[in-house]
């Protein structure tokens, strides 16, 4: 006789809640926007969601490993600033791809700096990456003091309008990322990640290279933030050094509603990806619900608070009954 409990369900399928929420969001969105599954609409939605999805994947890996990365938004800004100033609206495609490589290296470096302070110097992750987020945001602003610049329109259009097999390019990117994740998940590193996030002391006693694992999660997160920055630059085609500022909280919220606990060691990456899409759809819904522009920020913020609060409210309710 096996009793099905909420906690049992959640611990076995942490993304369960995210799936319910995503289904609900899709249904509501479909009612408001019946053509949402048309090729054009789907693509225009997915290309908007992709940057935050990429960011969320990195955040989820850091959080799984028992940390958190507040600086991801600022890394996005740095990447955007670099591309917008170095490549330029009139730049060549060659220069673009060159700087894409530079940006990936810079993302990894920024992540490595976070990882060094958190893993090797053993500083608190939240406050440390908060400090570096200020440092990185300053750098982004230094590179691009005022919004402007951009990337060649060809590149931006490549990002916006590529639909292989009639499906948004974002689908393929997500598929590749999830494939990579499931691969990593089944390597030794995957096990280490869960062990370190679950109970670092026990992992250490079992001779897991705890410090190295923690360090590498920040490097991965930095890389993913750089990818996210590249994607958002291609989406917007222009430069704005504040572009990533609001994205950090969204990435954390997406991880939380994706069933990956902030305490680490529980959950995965697929759930957070669903969480990120759900958040994106919610924002869609807000704009379709024809809410007064003045109220939009407030409504979006309330949605984030509600999303963050839901697991806690369910827990409270469960304890009462």
């Amino acid at each position: 006789m096996k009793r099905i409990t909420w906690s049992g369900l959640m611990s076995r399928y942490p993304a369960f809640f995210a799936l319910i929420l995503l289904t609900f969001a899709v249904i509501v969105n479909f009612i408001l926007q019946p053509n949402m599954f048309a090729e054009d609409t789907l693509n225009s939605n997915m290309r908007v969601f992709l940057p935050i999805i990429l960011l969320t994947v990195g955040q989820a890996i850091v959080i799984l490993g028992g940390g958190i990365d507040i600086s991801v938004g600022a890394i996005v800004s740095i990447v955007n600033a670099i591309l917008a100033t170095r490549v330029g609206l009139e730049g060549s495609s060659g220069a673009m791809w060159q700087y894409v490589a530079v940006c990936l290296a810079i993302g990894a470096l920024a992540g490595a700096i976070n990882g060094y302070f958190v893993a090797y110097l053993r500083l608190q992750p939240i406050i440390t990456t908060y400090a570096t987020s200020f440092l990185y945001a300053g750098i982004a602003l230094f590179i691009l003091p005022n919004p402007g610049g951009g990337i060649p329109a060809i590149i931006a259009n490549l990002y916006r309008n590529t639909t292989p097999l009639g499906l948004p390019a974002a689908f393929f990117v997500i598929a590749i990322i999830l494939g990579l994740w499931f691969f990593i998940r089944s390597t030794r590193f995957g096990n280490y990640l869960y062990a370190v996030g679950g109970k670092a002391q026990a992992a250490y006693e079992t001779a897991v290279p705890v410090t190295w694992v923690q360090f590498s999660t920040y490097v991965i997160s930095g890389l993913m933030a750089a990818l996210s920055g590249i994607a958002i630059t291609m989406l917007s085609g222009s430069g704005n050094a504040e572009i990533g500022a609001a994205m950090t909280l969204n990435s954390i919220t997406a991880v939380v509603i994706g069933g990956t606990a902030l305490s680490g060691g529980v959950g995965g990456v697929a759930g957070p990806v669903m969480g990120a899409i759900t958040l994106g759809i919610f924002q869609n819904i807000v704009s379709f619900a024809q809410i007064n522009t003045w109220w939009e920020t407030l409504v979006k913020a309330l949605i984030i608070v509600a999303a963050l609060a839901t697991p806690g409210i369910i827990n409270l309710f469960r304890r009462r009954t």
Binding site: G8, S11, R12, F183, S186, T187, R188, G190, N191, Y192, Y194, A195, G198, K199, Q201, A202, A203, Y204, E205, T206, A207, V208, G265, V266
Partner: protein, 502 residues
């Protein structure tokens, strides 16, 4: 496979607390050495020295004839040393199989972990304990869902999976039932044959005599005796463990408790690890709670104190009480001296003054009359013979015994009528222990009621009017008067019904 390891004159300090001052151990292939000692004598620290978890402050480790220095647990593992940790080194959120093979997962295609191989290898290991599990223990169960005994077995299997030359079993039998212990000992026999060396740490004398070839006794961080188990009797071993100075002359034999009114009636307490506990306590009575560690003693005290929710009734001075928060218990005159001094009893980085006054600040008005608070704390310090430089120094500057005085003093400041004590003399030096005993008897003479759990059997027998022995969340036996002897207490602790006990 052969191994010989010796540890000589090992010193280890944690902050200001000396855990080992002169630890020695020698072990060779094919033998079981029992590492014995009272609580806080340094057994666990000794095992953490051998397996590289802690950094030595002094002394020398020699492995196979040459000096070694383990830079990490990894280094010790590579030399074939594996440990069953007392506080389990399992990751709660991971499965049994993932836990056992962590860092040595069999790899398959493209460096991916072969789940099939992991499962198969885990099944092989689980077969060693087949038939002793209460649940359907399979490789894919998440460890946090297992009962304590099966977690313990997974921890043992994890250590064994390294196929070590030296296996350290630190209190590995504490949560196992008799059948599981028997199976473990059968396996230990096999491993010995294979040439493994085994360090066996346990409180249970009977087990030590069953399984060990040699012994090594630690007392207050020093190795005070070693030899062949067949050359020593249980009594002599116990004598080695106990300080000769700790003579009990606080016998309360002359006190006639039965005339005093019952002040605390406890009926049918059910809670986590408590399966129906009922008893009465009289005013001025010093009631001991005994039994092996982790039989629900802590939960009983914490339930009465309102820290853990429970069902059942408690009547205090003829009035029913059911505390929902320690605050309510405190206001009704209850006090709890918790078992984990650093984690539950003290604010380590705060001044001694604030630790003394934490429950009592409300009495000093607004703005707080700090002068009065200091004076009261000063008096309490003097009363308890507290050795300190200044009330404003942090508690972390005190020795273990003095820090424990602060925990007790903090409650005495409120003059409680019921004191709940959770192993208060753990890791406390002999001199301070004697002071505690005197203090407790004096408090009872003043009419305070004391419920006193201790992991030190001698203390219970010497000090208490009556001892209730707990086993598996229930009161197993009650020992009083003539029946209150150490032998009876030990046999009752092990769950063996004693003919002479009521």
């Amino acid at each position: 496979m052969t191994l010989s390891l010796s540890a000589k004159n090992i010193v280890k300090r944690y902050g200001g607390v000396i855990a080992l001052s002169d630890g020695n151990l020698e072990i060779n292939s094919g033998e079981v050495v029992a590492l014995i000692g009272a609580n806080g004598s340094g057994k666990s620290t000794m095992s953490k020295v051998i397996n590289g978890v802690v950094v030595l402050d002094g002394g020398q480790l020699t492995l196979d004839g040459s000096p070694v220095h383990f830079a990490s647990p990894q280094a010790a593992k590579n030399m074939g040393i594996s440990t069953v940790f007392q506080e389990l080194s399992l990751i709660p959120q991971m499965t049994v199989a993932d836990n056992i093979w962590l860092t040595r997962e069999p790899l398959g295609l493209m460096g991916m972990v072969s789940r099939k191989a992991v499962r198969a290898k885990t099944d092989e290991l689980l077969a060693l304990f087949a038939g002793t599990f209460k649940t359907d223990l399979h490789p894919d169960v998440v460890v946090s869902e297992l009962p304590p005994d099966e977690k313990q077995i997974v921890e043992i299997l994890k250590a064994v999976s390294f196929n070590p030359r030296l296996l350290i079993l630190d209190e590995a039998t504490a949560s196992l039932d008799n059948r599981q212990v028997q199976r473990l000992f059968d396996l230990v026999g096999v491993w010995k044959e294979e040439g493994k060396a085994i360090v066996f740490i346990s409180h249970r004398m009977e087990e030590i005599f069953r399984v060990a070839d040699r012994y090594s006794v630690l007392r207050n961080g020093k190795t005070v005796g070693a030899g062949h188990i067949k050359d020593i009797t249980e009594n002599d071993l116990i004598k080695l463990m106990i300080d000769k100075d700790s003579v009990f002359n606080y016998s309360r034999a002359g006190v006639n408790i039965s005339e005093k009114p019952v002040c605390l009636e406890v009926r049918d307490i059910y809670s986590t690890n408590l399966h129906g506990v009922s008893f009465d306590v009289r005013e001025g009575e010093l009631v001991g709670i005994g039994g092996l560690q982790g039989q629900g003693q802590r939960n009983l005290l914490h339930s009465l104190y309102g820290d853990i929710s429970f069902t059942g009734t408690v009547t205090f001075n003829q009035k029913p009480v059911h505390f929902k928060h320690p605050r309510q218990a405190m206001k009704s005159g209850f006090a709890l001296v918790p078992g984990d001094r650093a984690g539950e009893g003290l604010l380590y980085i705060r001044p001694i003054l604030e630790n003394f006054q934490l429950p009592s600040w409300g009495r000093y008005g607004f703005p707080l009359k700090i002068g009065n608070a200091k004076k009261d704390a000063e008096q309490m310090g003097t009363r308890l013979n507290l050795v300190m430089a200044s009330l404003l120094d942090p508690v972390s500057s005190l020795s273990g015994g003095n820090a424990q005085k602060v925990v007790i003093g903090k409650w005495l400041m409120r003059q409680p009528s019921v004191l709940l004590l959770d192993d208060p003399t753990k890791g406390v030096d002999v001199g301070t222990k004697a002071e505690f005993y005197a203090l407790l008897t004096k408090l009872c003479d003043e009419g305070k009621t004391i419920l006193f759990y201790s992991s030190d059997d001698e203390e219970l027998v010497g000090l208490c009017d009556r001892v209730m022995v707990m086993h598996d969340g229930k009161l197993q036996t009650e020992l009083v008067g003539e029946a209150l002897t150490k032998e009876n207490l030990i046999s009752a602790s092990l769950g063996v019904a004693h003919g002479g006990a009521p």
